[in-house]
Every structure is written in C-alpha cells, then in structure tokens.
C-alpha cells in the first residue's frame, strides 16, 4: 500500500515522478539503457536504435493525435522531409550531424504548419484524408525535384561523424539516438505541464469550449502540428543516419499507419503510450521470429511455412489488445501500478 503521497504544493503535484518507486524504476531504466549496449549483440543494438527512432516519431504523433485530437496520416511523409533534409545537408554542406538533425526538425515543422492549415476547417477523417493528400504531394516532390532529391534513386549519405570519428556501428549510433529520443520524450512529458500542452488537451476535449476560454485554435493547432512535425523530422533525420539511403520509397504510406497503430496500441494521449506502442510494433514481429526458430526442429521448413502465420499473429495481437484493453498498453502498466499501490487490500 502506497502511503504518504499527499502533495503540499502545486509544484509537487505537477512533478513528473511523484513516488519513490517511480523514481527507483526510472533509475533502473536509465541504468539499463546505459549498460545495455555493452551486453547486446549487433542484432539487438540494431533493434534498440530502430526502437529509439520509432519512439521519437510515435511520441510526436501522440502530441498531435493523442493530445490535440488532430488525426494525421502524414507522419511517414514528415519523417521523409527530415530524412531528405539531413541527407542534403550532410552531402552538400557536411554540417555537424546534431545541427542537421535540428535543421531537419525545423524544416519539417515548417512543412507541418503548412500541412496543418486544413485542420482549422476540418477534423477527424476529413483531416486524415487531407494529411494523406499532403503525403502524396510530398512524395511527388521527392520523385520530381531531382536536383535536390536525385529522384527515384534517392540519396546515399556518408555516416554521421563526431569529433572526426564516423558513427558507423550500431553501438556508436545507440549513444546518439537513445539520448536524443530520451530528451524528446522528456520534452513531450514536460510540454503537458505547460500552458501550451494544456491548451492542446483543451482543444482535443472540446475545441469550441477551448476557443471560448481564449485559446486561439489557429495558433495552438498549428503549434501542435509544428511540434509533432519537428519530432517526425528529427526521427526521420536519425533514420537517414541509421540506414544512410533515402529514397521516395523509404517512407511508404503504410509507415504512417504503423505510427497511428503504435499510439493506439500503446495508449493515445499518454507519453508512456507512445513509447510502449512503438516498442510493441517494432519488437513483436522480431520476437515472433524466435517463435519460428523454436518450432524449426518440430516443423520442417518452419520459416517458409510459418512466416505468413507470423504476420497473422502480429495482426491478431494488435486486435486482441484493442479488444481487451482499448486504452492501450499504457493502461495495463497503470493497472499494475495501481495494484501495487493498493496491495494487499485489492487483488
């Protein structure tokens, strides 16, 4: 049973970590993240880096869709803008990679503001279709602005470098991506302790009431698009340094669906939801490979026979989670926390 949790100040009430177990667990997580690369092989390091990129992007989409209530199916296209920005800056100017990532975020934020303009007139599915339209326009630009994007062949970029050392291994990239993603997640968590974040939530809950309260819909909706796109741009930039080849086909429309599914499965409107959703969507298909590996001695040619089953199981898991926990994986974590808070008085 958790006791002595009464808050004596607004500051304490708004703190990110309010209980000792929370602080302990966060410390364990931080220690794990620091120690992990020394124990993981290339495969798991690759997945860790990829999860970090997807967490950054899913968190951005959660700000827009989960917290502000603006449905977007353009996240992959925004990531592509960030990836192309990084590739062009890296190839043409050779500017430092951190500056390139910030520039990628800034350029994508500007694009996001433009794409967000329809949100002032339309909501829900209509806005989703508008963002799909924007994705098609951006794809057309990637294919046809050949002087900048090299058309269908795309751009191959040199690795990011730090103090003259090229960051080519996943071990090196881990130390770039994970801290950046951690900062971005922390920034998102803090955003909702501010006036701006609360305005986003007000717009999501009832936009007309929010406007009556003095919240400028024009200002805050576009701000939400900008912030979300900034996240997508930085994630796309990290993606570019990770895969080092950016083509118009690198960010298909299905990737936008992936992020939307991630925040729905993880939990809309919670920071933890974006993280858990991205981890789930990235890791589960990979972990299912091991199930196939286990069955290999039992079933001849298991990999060929079970690969389609893997896809079906992944889909079924998503449906299952939505059926049994509509609020997402984050709610399961909250329930577990509540159980320990109240134990032994409730099971």
């Amino acid at each position: 049973m958790q006791i002595a949790t009464a808050k004596r100040s607004y500051r304490a009430d708004e703190a990110l970590l309010t209980t000792r177990p929370q602080r302990v667990w966060m410390g364990i997580l931080a220690a794990t993240l620091v120690a992990a690369p020394f124990f993981l092989d290339n495969y798991w390091l690759y997945l860790a880096c990829f999860v970090a990129i997807n967490v950054a992007s899913a968190t951005g989409l959660n700000i827009l869709t989960g917290y502000t209530g603006l449905v977007s199916l353009g996240q992959a296209a925004f990531m592509a803008v960030g990836a192309y920005t990084v590739a062009i800056l890296e190839i043409r100017l050779g500017t430092p990679f951190l500056l390139n990532l910030v520039a990628a975020g800034a350029v994508t934020a500007l694009v996001g503001i433009v794409v967000g303009l329809p949100s002032l007139r339309v909501k829900g599915l209509y806005l989703a279709i508008a963002t799909i339209g924007a994705s098609f326009i951006l794809h057309f630009i990637f294919v046809n602005w050949t002087q900048m994007t090299n058309g269908n062949s795309g751009l191959s970029l040199p690795p990011a470098s730090f103090m003259g050392t090229p960051l080519t291994s996943y071990f090196q990239l881990y130390w770039v991506f994970v801290p950046i993603t951690a900062l971005m997640v922390l920034g998102a968590a803090n955003l909702f302790r501010t006036r701006v974040g609360r305005a986003f939530i007000a717009i999501r809950d009832r936009d007309i009431s929010a406007e009556v309260l003095g919240i400028s819909l024009l200002h805050y909706k576009l701000t939400s698009f900008a912030v979300s796109s900034f996240y997508a741009g930085v994630a796309g930039g990290m993606w570019a340094y990770f895969f080092r080849v950016v083509t118009p086909e690198s960010f298909p429309f299905i990737y936008s669906i992936f992020f939307l599914a991630a925040i729905i499965v993880g939990g809309m409107g919670t920071i933890l939801g974006g993280i858990l959703g991205a981890v789930f969507m990235t890791m589960v298909p990979e972990l299912l490979r091991f199930v196939v590996d286990w069955l290999a001695p039992v079933i001849p040619n298991a990999a060929t026979l079970l690969s389609p089953v893997r896809t079906i199981v992944f889909g079924a898991l998503i449906i299952g989670f939505l059926l049994f926990e509509p609020k997402g994986l984050a709610e399961i974590v909250h329930r577990i926390r509540r159980f320990f808070h109240l134990w032994p008085f409730r099971k």
């Binding site: 294919v143 895969f243 083509t247 690198s250």
Partner: protein, 393 residues
C-alpha cells in the same frame, strides 16, 4: 483470498517465455558448415518470388551436399522472412550474422542492397547477391562485395534492343516504365543504347506502379504507332490491360518485358491476350529439355511440378555462391568478401549445367547474357525467339 497455487501460473508462464526468448537470442554454436544467410521475402508483395528463391537455393544446396559439399563441408541456408521491407531485411541480416558465421548472403531488394552496402564494406567478410538487378549495383567500385546472377536492368533492355536491331533495323520503340526506382532504372541507358543501334524511341510513358486504367496511355501508343513496346518495372499488371486494349485498337506493336515479367505461370492466368508477349530471360525455363541442360533435368526430377523463374534465379545464385567459396578454399584463402569476389570474378566460360545456355564469365558485378522468349498461349510456355545474346561479345 490469499493462498498457494500449484501448477502453471501466469507469472511462471511469463517467466518461462522471457527465459525462452533470451535463450533463443543467444548466438548459435558455430559448426563447420558454410552458411549462406538470406533476407528473403516470404510474405508481402514479393512473396511469390521469395518462396521460389528459397526453394531454388535449398535445392541446389541439397544437390551439392549430397555430392559431398565443398571440401567435405556442408553448405546450409539460414534465412528470415522480410516482408519485402528494408528495415526487416536489415534486421534479418543482423540477426543471422549475429548467430552464424556467414560469408555469403542473399538480399531481397535494391533498397536493402544499397542500405547494407556500407556495412558489407565495413565488415569485409561477406559476398552478397540477391533479387535486385539494379543498374546502380553493377558497379564493382561502389559495390565491391556484391554481384547479381544475371544482367542488370539496363543490360536486359540492351539485349532486347540488340534483338530488335537485328529483327527490324531502325524500329520505332515506346518505353513504358513504372514510376518507381525499379521502373525508372534503365531509362537513361536505354536512350543511349537505342541511339547507338539506330533505333528510335518515339514515346516514353511513365505510369503509377499500381495503374489500373491505362486507356490514356494506350491512346499515346496509338498515336506513336511503335513497332515495339518495352515494359519495365512491373510484374504483371497493367501489361495484360495494355495488350488487350492495343489489340482492340488494331495496333501491330510487339510487347516486351524484362525478367520479373517473364514467368510463364503469371501469363498462363492471362490466357489468350498473353499470346506473343516477348521478353528477355537470362535463364532457361523449368520445362526446357535441351540436351545441354542436365541441371534442369535434375530439377524436374526433384520437383515434378513447374518451378517459376525466381526458383531458377535462386538456384543459380546458390551455384555461383558455392563456386566462389569452392575456388576460394581451393586457393587456400580465407572466406571473406574480397577473396570470394575475386574467386567469383575468376569464373570464365563456366558451365551452369544448362541453366544459362551458354558458358558464362563474371568479370564484374553482372552476367550480361540473355535470350529472347515469346509466350505461346496454346502451349502455356515461353518459347525461345532468339539464340543467347552476350553483350560482351
């Protein structure tokens, strides 16, 4: 109600699953086997090819291992499904190379080949080939540890143009390409080659890869009145629609395609409209019973049912992989990327057992050899329309 429970609890199950996952994640013990790794698309849009490729590789390895393997060492394929997605292909690559001592690798796409190339060069331990025939990959300087088991896309079209130049000098040609990296790949080289051969490209049509309504494009064909229309960047759709509408308009143009559009089983579904479709194929077909193709007879013995062209491609790739490994070991050298590539490049006038109907050499990253085939809708087979054309001759 507190009480002790016996048997499997949910917690025990979770713990067992976690332990199992961790165990599975541990590297597999190395053996004396030579391992070919593979990022192969067994699901997704390219699954039809992936299934055939995997079967082709496995069958060749079976033949090889039954004959004693390489220097007494067995060769085996360790592969993962990619769904034809680059990130999954890279994940599979990392998983397989973390678990096994891999020196040969089969990749599934141009995107993957380009993405993994810096890592291949950094590792320097692996020779890679795959399902991509992208022109960009046919560059030994930029892709020193890769090759393709056939001509690149530009070379495929060049083989078609050589045939056209012989059949109808000065012919008028229309190019139809999908609006993808795959589709646009050979266009610049095609323009140059056509010019060199005195052929006239009268129209270039780009369609979305998933084009359904092609009536506007067919009208362009009618205006251009080409002798030949060359498609590239498609598997099947929208080719049958093009051909049907063109026939209805009474156009005389001959339709042609490249490797991925040339499997006879996909045209068998189209029926009569497919009759006369032509294209370039670097390999013989499963049903080719030429006397100088004992390997195809062996394949038919192993698999009585038709095997598609990706199967043949996988089979030949495995043959070339293992030939490179054999030559490397025979020379007393270590199995690594540069040694394997040098061994591959030493292949000269090599007999593929009739898979390719002419002896092959691989001085660079491709095998610029092919033959023109024509689809016979009655026999439901591709029949040879030319002899083997070697661009290096």
């Amino acid at each position: 109600m507190l009480g002790l429970k016996t048997g499997l609890t949910r917690r025990t199950l979770v713990a067992m699953s976690a332990a199992g996952l961790l165990t599975a994640a541990l590297p597999v013990q190395a053996s004396d086997d030579i391992v070919i790794g593979g990022s192969i698309p067994l699901t997704g849009v390219f699954a039809f090819a992936g299934v055939g490729i995997e079967a082709g590789i496995q069958d060749y390895l079976k033949i090889l291992n039954e004959a004693g393997g390489i220097d007494g060492r067995k060769v085996r394929l360790e592969f993962e499904d990619t769904g034809y997605k680059v990130d999954a292909s890279v994940a599979a690559f990392n998983k397989i190379t973390s678990q096994h001592d891999v020196h040969l690798y089969y990749g599934d796409s141009t995107g993957f080949a380009k993405t993994i190339n810096p890592e291949l060069n950094r590792m320097g331990t692996i020779l890679m080939a795959g399902a991509s025939f992208a022109t960009e990959l046919n560059n030994p300087d930029a892709f020193p540890n890769q090759f393709m088991a056939g001509p690149d896309y530009s070379e495929m079209i060049a083989i078609l143009l050589e045939y056209i130049a012989q059949e109808k000098p000065g012919a008028k040609i229309v190019l139809v390409n999908s609006d993808t990296e795959f589709g646009r790949d050979p266009i610049p080289a095609t323009r140059e080659k056509a010019k060199a051969l005195g052929l006239e490209i009268v129209e270039e049509i780009i369609t979305p890869p998933t084009a359904v309504d092609v009536s506007t494009e067919v009208l362009k064909l009618r205006r251009a009145r080409p002798d030949y229309t060359i498609f590239h960047g498609y598997i099947l759709a929208p080719l049958p629609e093009f051909m049907t509408q063109a026939k209805q308009l009474g156009l005389e143009t001959k339709f042609m395609g490249t490797f991925w559009s040339m499997d006879s089983s996909i045209w068998a579904q189209v029926g009569e409209a497919a009759d006369g479709f032509m294209g370039v194929m670097p390999y013989r077909y499963y049903y080719d019973d030429a006397a100088d193709a004992p390997m195809l007879a062996k394949i038919r013995e192993m698999r009585p049912e038709y095997q598609p062209t990706p199967y043949i491609q996988g089979f030949l790739t495995a043959m070339l992989f293992t030939e490179a490994a054999k030559r490397t070991l025979e020379a007393g050298k270590e199995l690594n990327g540069p040694n394997l590539k040098a061994a591959l490049n030493s292949i000269e006038n090599f007999d593929t057992g009739g898979i390719i109907g002419t002896p092959i050499s691989i001085p660079g990253n491709s095998i610029p050899v092919g033959r023109i085939y024509r689809y016979d809708a009655t026999a439901k087979q591709m029949v040879p329309a030319s002899d083997w054309i070697n661009l290096k001759e």
